[in-house]
């Protein structure tokens, strides 16, 4: 299997797990989790330096999920990367689980760096880690996943200022640009465009990519890997709910989980597209 097919297959596995775990949980955020599956596939199975047998390896790259509500895509990626048994995904959102509705570090899930869920904080944490790593002469990088609606939080821009001020070129922010949030279109709830110009004005290197195209994601990471002097933001255009036609681009699926019947339909659709 070549690399692209391998990563596409991982995307499929992540999406499959996301649907299964959300159906079992009965609540959770399907849309964003499906939309990010391809980016997470590339991060955990190609781009990031990490070791599931040593989750606190000093030299690992860090991932901070600023949009804690898409925890299912992170949990699925960690499980498929070998951090814990895939069956544990079915404990999502249940009592005594290590898989909290929004990531909770105190529960001790291997591979989880940080509790997140209150929007607008992750980029600032990621910037702090990036600075700390530099002070420690570490070569590790920090990837921070932000939502596009989340950019409405003022504290994101405080962090953006700080990251460029301290030239944190080991920090990569990935904006999940699906154009939707709970109340509807981001452009109608509160316009955040022009995004590229905003980030550039804050001193960041801006790259655009199709966040649902493995080749494009890989090429973008290739391009930014050696950039120096500035933090990098990847504005990744994604389709909320990507992979399931009836979910795609429907903001009502932002914070909803499929019921058991829907899950069966969705998995069938995934399998058909995968040729299974």
């Amino acid at each position: 299997m070549d690399k692209i097919d391998y990563l596409k297959h991982k995307s499929y596995l992540i999406r499959k797990s996301v649907i299964e775990m959300l159906a079992e949980a009965g609540s959770g955020h399907l849309g964003g989790s499906l939309g990010l599956a391809d980016i997470f596939s590339v991060l955990y199975f190609s781009e990031m330096k990490h070791d599931s047998s040593n989750p606190i390896w000093e030299e690992r790259d860090r991932l901070i999920l600023s949009i804690g509500h898409v925890a299912p895509v992170l949990y699925a990626s960690l499980a498929h990367a070998g951090y814990f048994d895939i069956n544990e995904l079915f404990t999502l959102r249940k009592i005594n689980s290590r898989l909290q509705g929004h990531p909770g570090k105190d529960k001790g899930l291997p591979g989880l760096e940080c509790s997140t869920g209150s929007l607008g904080q992750g980029l600032s944490i990621a910037a702090g880690i990036a600075l700390g790593l530099k002070l420690n002469n570490s070569k590790s990088r920090v990837f921070c996943i932000c939502g596009d609606g989340e950019l409405q939080e003022g504290s994101i821009w405080e962090a953006a200022m700080t990251a460029s001020h301290y030239k944190l070129d080991n920090l990569i922010c990935i904006v999940d640009r699906n154009g939707l949030q709970i109340d509807g279109k981001t452009s109608e709830v509160m316009e955040i465009d022009p995004l590229q110009e905003k980030w550039q004005a804050f001193g960041w290197i801006v790259e655009n990519c199709n966040g649902n195209n493995i080749v494009d994601i890989l090429n973008t990471f290739d391009k930014i890997r050696t950039l120096k002097g500035k933090p990098v933001v990847i504005i990744a255009k994604t389709i909320m709910g990507k992979g399931i036609k009836s979910v795609e681009n429907d903001y009502k699926w932002h914070g909803k989980a499929p019921n058991k019947e829907q899950a069966i339909e969705f998995l069938k659709e995934l399998n058909e597209n995968e040729g299974i």
Binding site: K105, S118, G120, A126, G132, L135, N136, G154, A159, T162
Partner: protein
């Protein structure tokens, strides 16, 4: 009669500065985060002496806290300080989620606390910071009585605790009177005087005011115990209960709203262990105003006279039972 003398008049922020300078020298993992008012809150202890370990984030308290949280995840011990009201409350959600929920060693300095910040007026007078933070799991809240004790609080925040610590200190010059060799232990308190008539639980600037009230009462043959509650969370349950059992009535005194602060913390202990009549000295459900510190402490009844009156009142209540 016990003698209480003070060595000099110095603000507790100077104690914070000195403690931080010493701690930063001893522990290279200490990092300073600046929120623009670096010198007046004592953060120049790092900015001046260890500039390579000082990072300003500008006027951005929310970012200061979460940025510090991130730094602490790489083995650093960040200190962040600003006006107590802004760092504790503008960044409250950041403290709750990023610092306390992750249980990270971010050490927060709440400077210019209380009404004694004076002429700046109500916006800058932190009188709700303890209440806001005290409800958060994992955080330690320290409120030292003078500069000497504030110096020790900084070191204790690093040496005695691996999680979030909030240190509350003031701007005005105050008597520096605690003994240099007196231990400072998180979760403990300090008994300054012993008497059977009433116990005064005081914190921060009001500890000295309690001593002045003690002197006035002593002359009237009223003997009071003063307990310096320098550790508000965790609080010294044992000493509070023990002293309440001896005195059977109590006064709480703090430069903070009477709701949710040190006084409330003491009441929680007493109500669950040994209920006694209590009078509370503190800000009474209102905002402050501009004025000289001494005028404000008098007008808003957070001074020696207020404590003196509260002791008399609570002893009457006790005796009328």
């Amino acid at each position: 009669m016990k003698e209480f003398n003070y060595r000099s008049l110095i603000p507790t922020r100077v104690g914070f500065h000195n403690g931080l300078k010493y701690a930063a020298q001893k522990y290279p993992q200490i990092i300073g985060i600046g929120c623009d008012i670096t010198i007046s809150v004592g953060m120049d202890a790092i900015a001046n002496y260890f500039p390579e370990r000082f990072f300003s984030v500008g006027i951005a308290e929310q970012n200061a806290i979460t940025f510090a949280a991130g730094l602490s995840m790489t083995g650093k011990i960040p200190f962040v300080a600003s006006y107590a009201t802004f760092i504790a409350m503008r960044a409250l959600d950041q403290i709750r989620v990023s610092v306390c929920y992750n249980n990270l060693p971010v050490k927060i300095g709440g400077a210019h606390a209380g009404i004694s910040v004076g002429p700046d007026g109500a916006t800058h007078q932190a009188l709700e910071d303890i209440a806001a933070l005290r409800a958060l799991p994992n955080i330690v809240i320290l409120s030292p009585a003078d500069a000497t004790q504030t110096e020790k609080a900084v070191l204790a925040a690093v040496e005695q605790n691996n999680g979030p610590v909030y240190i509350r200190y003031g701007r005005e010059s105050m008597p520096d009177f605690t003994e240099k060799d007196e231990p400072f232990t998180i979760g403990k308190s300090q008994i300054l005087t012993e008497g059977n008539d009433c116990v005064i639980y005081a914190t921060g600037h009001l500890v000295w005011e309690a001593i002045e009230a003690w002197k006035m009462l002593y002359k009237e043959n009223i003997k009071t115990t003063i307990v310096n509650i320098y550790s508000i969370k965790p609080i010294d349950v044992e000493t509070i209960v023990q002293t309440a059992k001896i005195c059977n009535c109590a006064v709480t005194a703090e430069e903070h709203q009477v709701f949710g602060g040190m006084g409330s913390a003491v009441l929680e202990v007493l109500a669950q262990n040994y209920p006694v009549p209590v009078e509370m000295v503190g800000m009474n459900n209102c905002f402050g105003e501009s004025g000289k510190p001494i005028e404000l402490m008098k007008k808003y009844k957070m001074d020696r006279l207020a404590i003196y009156n509260a002791v008399k009142k609570v002893i009457n209540r006790k005796n009328s039972f």
